[in-house]
């Protein structure tokens, strides 16, 4: 699923971002340039396999993200209870900061609701938490090694997605540039929505409870 984080309004106030297209298995750096007439153009530069960047797990957030229209986020730092789903157009996802002066020109924001991506990030996060370096406040350098094909069979047939192959290759001190950024500053506050109850999920009936069998007397037992 292609996604992007819109920075249409007041673009200069928001961090640039990285986009990953799970349907195509391609990663892009998105740069927005303001033209002389005031309009903004969007340039997509593909991120080639082999690129390394810092993935800031220290500030990664999870929750609900909508990419319908202007992106909207209802996210909290990982480990906190996620908020209630704001609306049906929101899907569970993560948002985080990436850093590479060489590949990205500095700090970029990244967000995804694609299962193919979330699975990879979950694996990496588990490694991050277990590593002694993370407890020392160091940041992991992650390498993008291409993609893995994920085929899923569903009611509408087989769908193909591509999961990014990511691995932690080394640890470095957390850059000051990351410390200077608060992820929540990257997105414009979504417009106020009318109060909505989050959609509920049907619950199936519980399995039948097995009735205990009456005890059988042994042949010849005396009572």
């Amino acid at each position: 699923m292609a996604f992007n984080i819109s920075t249409e309004a007041g673009g200069g106030d928001f961090l640039p971002y990285i986009k990953y297209d799970a349907k195509a298995g391609r990663m892009f750096r998105i740069d927005r340039t303001q033209q002389t007439d005031g309009s903004w153009t969007k340039d997509e530069t593909e991120v080639a396999p082999g690129v390394q960047f810092i993935l800031d797990f220290a500030t990664i957030e999870e929750g609900w993200i909508s990419f319908e229209g202007q992106p909207a986020f209802a996210v909290v730092p990982v480990g906190q209870p996620i908020p209630q789903r704001p609306g049906e157009q929101f899907k569970q996802g993560v948002r985080c900061l990436l850093y590479s002066q060489k590949a990205f020109g500095g700090v970029r924001t990244f967000a995804s609701t694609a299962k193919a991506v979330l699975g990879q990030l979950d694996n990496l996060h588990t490694q991050y938490v277990a590593a002694p370096e993370s407890k020392q406040g160091m940041a992991p350098v992650v390498q993008f090694d291409g993609v893995t094909v994920i085929k899923t069979k569903g009611p509408k047939g087989e769908t193909t997605n591509y999961a990014p192959r990511l691995q932690i290759v080394k640890w470095v001190p957390r850059p000051a540039e990351l410390a200077a950024v608060k992820p929540q500053e990257t997105v414009q506050t979504p417009p106020a929505q009318p109060a909505q109850r989050p959609a509920a999920q049907h619950v199936e009936a519980p399995p039948p409870v097995a009735q205990p069998q009456p005890a059988m007397a042994d042949n010849g037992a005396e009572f």
């Binding site: 109850r197 989050p198 959609a199 049907h202 009936a205």
Partner: protein, 258 residues
């Protein structure tokens, strides 16, 4: 003597508090001025369908048609002399409600209680709240309440949530589920029943809301011992569906002059 007792109110209920919160003018007209408003065909349909479903739950081998026949008999008795224009249309839907309701709820087994009365005292509320839960399944630790409607909702409504919160509160750690039943299966999803479980956080919030509404109602009742004086403070919203029935509207015009 508290304000409830002064007005002859010995107990409250979630439906009463929901009614006060939604349409206080109607609440005063019914509860303080004792104007008996007609029960809608929809409400009677729900009661009848529930009773028919209960027959089928208490006896898992009972033929569904027998359950439907029971429900129709209940409905016809309740709707005798009723001039509600939806009377026949609601009757036509009862077989569907009973059939689909049983298809889902028979999976839960035989209930341990039906229309079980609960009584709860909330902080700061001087009279108890009572209610009647539909079914309790002790082996599953569940309370199930059936709701009939022409459409399946996407979530438990606030009114239902408050009702469920009270049932849940009265039963410790039992789960509270609402089985929403419609008379025909959906064209897109083939579904006629959807069951939602009330979350613990939701239940806590709804219970707090019930106590809040009750305390506010008490303060309102404390303004005067004269129901007419209290009615004089309120204005009905005649566009609200509570006032749809012509008889109810006529009563409202008499009481409030609107």
């Amino acid at each position: 003597m508290n304000a409830f007792e002064r007005h002859g109110i010995a107990h409250l209920s979630p439906s009463s508090l929901n009614s006060y919160a939604t349409q206080p003018a109607l609440w005063v007209m019914e509860r303080l001025l004792h104007k008996k408003t007609p029960t809608s065909a929809a409400a009677k349909r729900g009661d009848a369908a529930e009773q028919g479903i209960n027959v089928g739950l208490q006896d898992p081998h009972c033929d569904v048609q027998e359950c439907i026949d029971m429900a129709l008999k209940v409905y016809d008795t309740a709707m005798a002399f009723s001039t509600d224009p939806k009377r026949l249309a609601e009757r036509d839907n009862i077989p569907g409600y009973v059939t689909h309701g049983l298809a889902e709820l028979r999976k839960y087994g035989v209930p341990d209680a039906y229309q079980h009365k609960i009584e709860v005292t909330l902080d700061g509320v001087p009279v108890p709240l009572i209610g009647y839960l539909d079914w309790r399944f002790d082996r599953h630790g569940l309370i199930v309440d059936a709701k009939t409607s022409e459409k399946l909702p996407g979530a438990i409504s606030t009114a239902h949530g408050r009702q469920g919160a009270l049932y849940r509160h009265a039963h410790g750690n039992y789960g509270m589920r609402f089985a929403y039943i419609k008379p025909v299966e959906g064209k897109k999803d083939g579904r006629a029943v959807t069951v939602y479980e009330l979350g613990a956080d939701e239940a806590r919030d709804h219970l707090a809301a019930l106590a809040n509404i009750a305390r506010r109602l008490e303060r309102f009742l404390a303004l005067s011992a004269d129901p007419q004086e209290l009615a004089g403070l309120l204005v009905p919203d005649m566009d609200h569906y509570f006032w749809t029935n012509p008889t109810t509207r006529a009563m409202g015009r008499d009481v409030f002059g609107i």
